[in-house]
């Protein structure tokens, strides 16, 4: 395996395009090193992006949104007070990834590009309406996070396409997000189901909603029909119950050792309901 440390994204793209064999990028390495160890999907070329200037920065853009560099770690997100206040759901999704040791290294971009349907930070990014900046030999484009995963372990990124940053839109008043997952233990486990909800309110009525389901299909999925149940509503028990049923109906999980299909369909409804409540309370300003 050849290890590369480019000092710019354009250099990284050039290396990637001229390399033969499997190319991977090294952000936090918490997925890549495990794959190296077990000899699964082991790359021939590993391009470490951490020496590229700016990759560890969290910046507030002029339009009021955030740009989070591709190598920003979980700890950095948690420690960023303003970002955590504006996007608590997104940050709590990332915080759930692994232990303190993992948090020092793991990144949003790595979590996204590893392509797991159970990736904990991905539903929150999608619910937030986040995009990623993708650089290639033909320039930089902005792609919705939801368009990146295509199936278990698979993304839409081609050879020589590298993510430079995650972009969050401006946060307005009366908006709130939340992410919850179900795991059989209290820490250090993979989501059996997960759900992120992002809401914006007008006079306590839901004006727009985005609902994203994790670990109940081959990839993280946007649940538009479930979000539509919430529009124009105040989130009373009746609406929550319709919403919960809709999420269960939309879930297309598999059965495996961590949960049967029926169990996952039922639990996603419960988790989605709780996440919606939490997002709603946050949008009202009640934490």
């Amino acid at each position: 395996m050849q290890y590369h440390t480019p000092s710019s994204f354009s250099e990284a793209v050039t290396i990637s395009n001229s390399a033969d064999g499997l190319v991977k990028y090294l952000a936090g390495g918490t997925d890549v090193l495990v794959q190296l160890k077990i000899g699964n999907n082991s790359p021939d070329h590993l391009i470490d992006i951490k020496k590229i200037p700016g990759v560890k920065e969290i910046a507030l853009r002029e339009d009021g949104g955030w740009t989070i560099g591709a190598a920003v770690s979980g700890v950095q997100l948690t420690n960023h007070k303003k970002l955590s206040r504006e996007w608590p759901g997104l940050v709590e999704g990332m915080e759930l990834v692994g232990s303190a040791q993992i948090q020092s290294r793991a990144t949003l971009v790595g979590n996204l590009c590893n392509g797991s349907p159970a990736a904990d930070s991905v539903p929150g990014m999608i619910a937030a309406g986040a995009t990623v900046s993708v650089v290639s030999s033909s320039g930089t484009t902005e792609v919705l996070v939801e368009d990146i995963p295509v199936g278990p372990g698979l993304t839409n990124l081609g050879t020589g396409e590298i993510i430079t940053a995650v972009n969050l839109p401006k946060r307005n008043k009366h908006e709130g997000d939340a992410y919850l997952r179900f795991i059989p233990r209290t820490e250090m486990d993979i989501a059996v189901v997960g759900c992120a909800v992002n809401l914006s309110l007008e006079n306590e009525v839901i004006r727009s909603a985005k609902v994203v389901l994790g670990a109940v299909g081959p990839k993280v999925e946007v649940a538009t029909p479930a979000a539509e149940c919430l529009l124009g509503e105040n989130l009373d028990e009746n609406i929550l119950s319709i919403f919960s049923d809709k999420c269960s109906e939309l879930a297309k999980p598999i059965s495996d050792k961590r949960g049967s299909e029926e169990f996952r369909k039922e639990v996603i409804g419960v988790i989605a309901k709780r996440a919606a409540k939490k997002a709603y309370d946050r949008a009202l300003g009640n934490k």
Binding site: Y3, G29, L46, S99, A100, R105
Partner: protein, 159 residues
């Protein structure tokens, strides 16, 4: 296989070694630098026996490549005790018998020290969550958690 020359700082000493690009920092510490205090329990980030401080941050050294250490500074369990004295956490672990076979102990000490440096007044829940990435197959954790809480208390009292 052509090896890569790595220059780094470990526990305050300049150190150089030759690493294969696939070798982990843990492999390099143990096999090239001769620091065998960091243990390999799993090699996949789950057990924390290999915990080190890398660039000021608590990491599992089995999830860091040796070549990533170039120009960085690393603290391992070997750097924890002072010239004369053990670290307060080390003393407390002995005093309170917070270890049995000891395999997890270096990692737990490094992780606990990182916690107490950011927060010398953690709740028991905070200690338990912080150490969730450190597995111990012997003690049942209780004595470990108590020893960390007691050390925090001593640190606060002497501060």
């Amino acid at each position: 296989m052509n090896k890569i020359h790595v220059k780094t700082n470990i526990n305050g000493d300049q150190v150089e070694f030759l690493a294969d690009s696939r070798e982990t920092l843990l492999d390099c510490l143990r096999d090239h630098v001769g620091l065998t205090g960091s243990k390999e329990g799993c090699g996949t980030g789950d057990c924390g026996a290999c915990s080190c401080i890398f660039d000021g941050e608590l990491v599992s050294s089995c999830l860091v490549l040796g070549v990533e250490a170039e120009g960085k500074s690393i603290e391992t369990i070997e750097g924890m005790a002072g010239q004369e004295d053990l670290h307060p956490l080390q003393k407390k672990f002995i005093e309170m018998a917070a270890l049995q076979c000891g395999f997890c102990t270096p990692g737990i000490l490094v992780a606990a020290k990182a916690l107490l440096e950011k927060n010398n007044n953690p709740t028991e829940t905070e200690v338990r969550y912080w150490l969730a990435g450190n597995l111990c197959r012997c003690t049942g954790y209780d004595k470990i958690i108590k020893a960390v809480m007691e050390t925090a208390k001593d640190i606060r009292e002497t501060a």
